[in-house]
Amino acid sequence: MNNIKNQFRKILFLLLPIVGMMTPGVLFAEYADVVMNKRSDKMGLRPVIFPHWFHRIRFRCKVCHSELGFEMRVGSNDVTMAEIANGKFCGMCHNGEVAWSIEHCDLCHSGKPGLKSGIDWGWDKSLTPDSW
């Protein structure tokens, strides 16, 4: 009996690193994902996740940040659903013509409740002066 227990412990001990090596090392969002949550949480919706990687495959920065006028600073754009429905901000494309329309709430409002607006999940902030 004792012997089996010992064996079992040995197996466990040896299996641990195997389990460890099969769990991925990354635990954060894709680089440049933006969380937009000025109002969503307060209105009882999930925060918006805007993936830069997905959009920059299809559009150059200038389309959004020059033609459509998104300010390049998280939180500096006052985005409301009314404006989106009017064709501003995300609504320039998410209107059923360039991309799917705004009925699909969940596709944009897909973030964990309570997240703060920001872009810093994707990258290492250890270089910024704030962390010195």
Partner: protein, 208 residues
């Protein structure tokens, strides 16, 4: 017993390596993570910002599905975006409105206020492929050499180059990609380099 397990471990390690090599050849995300392969794209389900209980998460595209098709880089999105664009892996649209003017400028600016580090080469070409002049001029940079008191401190704070680098474009820890011109071998004059093609008035036809 111990030998058996050692063999098992060795076998698994070999399996892991071979799977990763295969995945790399097929440009897929790796399945095991034991061997030090940096081709890692997190899945939306476990990226800490998407809500796993949100049903749409199964509809959204996983980063590795798209990004593993593109030229690999070890940092940022793990994609060499400049190369992906130049070599036609991606064809991002330049405009939505047909009347928008597409401006591209091929002019390097060499900046030498870098203390002992190699000088900074700022290439307009690679930037204006992605960006419009007004994304930088004149609220980030006055369009005049030496008119901008750029310091590394400000860049790391998220000003000047740091507005994009470290947020969306490649991260700031890649010192050498900006500090790329050695003083010893650089023969020309610092500042704006001769315009190779295009000029500040150069305007390409917008794509429909």
């Amino acid at each position: 017993m111990r030998i058996k397990f050692s063999c098992l471990l060795l076998l698994l390690f070999a399996l892991d390596v071979s799977i990763n090599v295969q995945a790399a050849e097929k440009k897929e995300a790796p399945k095991f993570y034991f061997s030090n392969d940096k081709r890692k794209w997190n899945s939306l389900q476990r990226d800490e910002i998407h809500d796993p209980t949100c049903e749409a998460i199964n509809v959204l595209q996983q980063p590795y599905e798209a990004l593993s098709e593109l030229p690999y880089d070890y940092t940022g999105n793990n994609v060499q975006w400049v190369k992906a664009l130049r070599e036609g892996f991606i064809e991002p649209r330049t405009n939505i409105w047909p009347e928008t003017k597409i401006k591209v400028l091929d002019m390097d600016v060499i900046m030498d206020n870098t203390s002992t580090l190699p000088m900074v080469r700022f290439p307009h070409k690679e930037h204006t492929e992605w960006l419009d002049c007004e994304n930088c001029h004149n609220h980030l940079f006055i369009a005049k050499v030496d008119a901008n008191p750029i310091t590394m401190y400000a860049v790391l704070k998220g000003e000047y180059c740091g507005r994009c680098h470290g947020a969306v474009a490649f991260p700031l820890r890649e010192c050498g990609r900006c500090h790329s011109v050695l003083r010893a071998t650089f023969k020309g004059k610092v500042g704006a380099q001769p315009v190779i093609s295009g000029n500040p008035e150069f305007i390409a036809k917008p794509r429909p």
